[in-house]
Symmetry: C2
Subunit: 371 residues, 2 copies
């Protein structure tokens, strides 16, 4: 399992800011550039390191905003120039992954691309590898394959994938067709899914032959596909690329690949799934971040921040400290404190989802300088 | 009531740091230098302004630490040099008030001194004036007179004064002897006191002829008295003062005037009381501060800080902001957030008393730079 897969190319869409993690995540320091696990590594770097044994150093592409180019290259020193795909503005995942696929398929017609978000946390890398290797085997058979995470609890925070009929594919003993996608459930439904074992979390990982993926985009979103093809044609011509991006990119439809490709493909029996048995979290908000960093104990106070100076007593939740200030926390339960140079957030894990509303409100109140 | 009282001199001991208000109050910015009511004025300045109509501009003395001289003079521009009494280190209230009395009695043998803490909040100034004028009338009769605050609720946070037999004194219709002092009660006892109406809060205000006060100190604490006399003799000689302070001050007994003078005087029938019908608070901790600034509504979030940028939703308690940072507060109840340049405190009004423990802990952990 230690050799890279020769026909595989990993694509890391690194686009989202992660508004629900404000004021830690923000326009000029998006979530994927942060260390959210205390490992000393940014999420982007950890994603890269997880993919390198699978794809090899020179076959990992990053799709990111022009504004993040320098930061991405700092995190990934030595990334080949040809593997950095710069968006002039965010156009969601179909455009980002589709662009990479369209460019890569011109370089290698049989290439298999796998897309893996830059801002998820995954533990137990060899189980991740095993899932990806199965998914690549499935993709070689012409399926679009997703990796569905075997749930560790009845979560209401994620969408689910309903596993259907098993597939007999060499090198992918756990592969099955996807029966359907289901949106985030209520708790009762989530408990039912959890007990059933055939429901997996949708982690947005898709592995497919590039040509198969593009054909699916063409079938579902012909205009978007045409734009991507035109872009790809200009891409490897240095002089043509910039003007093509400026002309075409801003007009591309904004749509998540889940809706443009995965759901229609599932309906046609073109979508397969392999289960992921690794620990996975998309760290969607500070409640997840707190849980992720508290060693599984809800009475713990998780602390994140390289030089944090925290004095805590009888408190639980999480403190994120990005300043040299002393932070004293006394007798507060399930608290969320995020201390940055220009903004401070205090909320509770229960209200962590409402942070997005704070960001919206700050935009309206003229305090956008801290976003 | 608008003319100053000719034989009256006000003394403002401005010594304490107010540890339970850390990180707002600290060694180089003690509580009395802060605006804790959003009035735009420091507590010291407000105390001064309250006393000026009673004593006159040139007859208000401030006893403070050498380190606070410049700050005090900034707050009280034009304060006569002779009215600033500098301590080389804090020696508690008997030494501070006793020193002022000993110096002032040499300047005017019949002077009546009244001591009023620099860091209390008082509303309805004409009721304060009325109480002080009664207390001065009582003091002229040779009593040490205190002003006991008529309780507005059954507080367990203050000590109480039990009012005894009424006194017949011209100009002081409400004067009575003090029967006894009682320590902070439990809630049941406090409710009983509150219903009884003859128990008043001890606000540490003492009004007395200076010679009477000094005689009481001499009777109870002869050594301390001797030190004060020696200091006073050197005081108005510029060359002698500094060396005398350095020699004598550090050896003076540290004892609150409540214990050295008030309690023994009460036992001998020398202590009188007049009730204060004004709103009073010693703002002992952030719970008091929250209450004081929330307009009496417990579901309000009080905000303190001249240039505070606060975005609050569904929260109550208090935010004190001394930085230009945006502070977002979402769904936290009875919270206390104190945001300063080098330290942040997050606790609840329920745990406000524990802040003193934080200060002690910071001293031990080597984080004393933020105290």
């Amino acid at each position: 399992m230690s050799e890279p897969i020769p026909d595989f190319y990993a694509v890391i869409p690194a686009g989202g800011i992660g508004s629900r993690l404000w004021p830690l995540s923000r326009a000029d320091a998006p979530k994927f550039l942060h260390d959210l696990t205390g490992s000393g590594q940014s999420l982007l770097r950890a994603t890269w390191d997880r993919l390198e044994p699978l794809a090899g150093h020179d076959r990992i592409a990053v799709v990111t905003g022009r504004a993040h180019r320098a930061a991405v290259e700092d995190e990934l020193p030595g990334i080949p120039d040809a593997n950095v795909f710069l968006e002039s503005e965010p156009r969601d995942s179909t455009a980002a992954i589709g662009l990479a696929a369209a460019v890569l398929v011109r370089r290698d017609p049989d290439v298999i691309v796998g897309s893996f978000a830059a801002d998820h946390v995954i533990r137990v890398p060899h189980l991740f590898e095993w899932a990806v290797r199965q998914a690549v085997a499935v993709a070689r058979e012409g399926y679009i394959c997703t990796i569905g995470i075997q749930p560790s609890e009845p979560s209401v925070g994620f969408g689910y994938i309903k596993k259907g009929e098993g597939l007999i594919i060499d090198g992918a003993p756990e592969a099955a067709l996807v029966e359907s996608f289901v949106e985030k459930p209520d708790l009762e439904t989530a408990k039912h899914y959890f007990a059933e074992r055939s429901y997996l979390w949708n982690a947005g990982m898709f592995i497919s032959r590039a040509d198969v993926l593009l054909a699916e985009i063409q079938a579902q979103r012909p205009q978007l596909h045409a734009g991507l093809m035109e872009l790809a044609e200009a891409w490897d011509d240095r002089a043509a690329r910039g003007p093509a991006v400026d002309r075409i990119w801003p007009k591309l439809e904004r749509i998540a690949i889940d809706y443009s490709v995965a759901e229609p493909a599932a309906a046609k029996g073109h979508l397969a799934v392999v289960p992921g048995h690794f620990d996975w979290d998309d760290v969607g908000d500070f409640a997840s971040l707190s849980k992720l960093n508290s060693g599984g104990r809800s009475d713990n106070l998780a602390i994140l921040g390289k030089n944090a100076r925290i004095l805590a007593d009888a408190s639980s939740g999480i403190v994120v400290s990005n300043t040299p200030r002393v932070v004293s926390v006394v007798g507060v339960k399930d608290i969320v404190i995020v201390d940055t140079d220009d903004a401070l957030l205090v909320t509770t894990t229960e209200h962590a989802q409402r942070v997005k509303g704070v960001v919206d409100a700050l935009r309206l109140t003229g305090d956008g300088d801290v976003l």
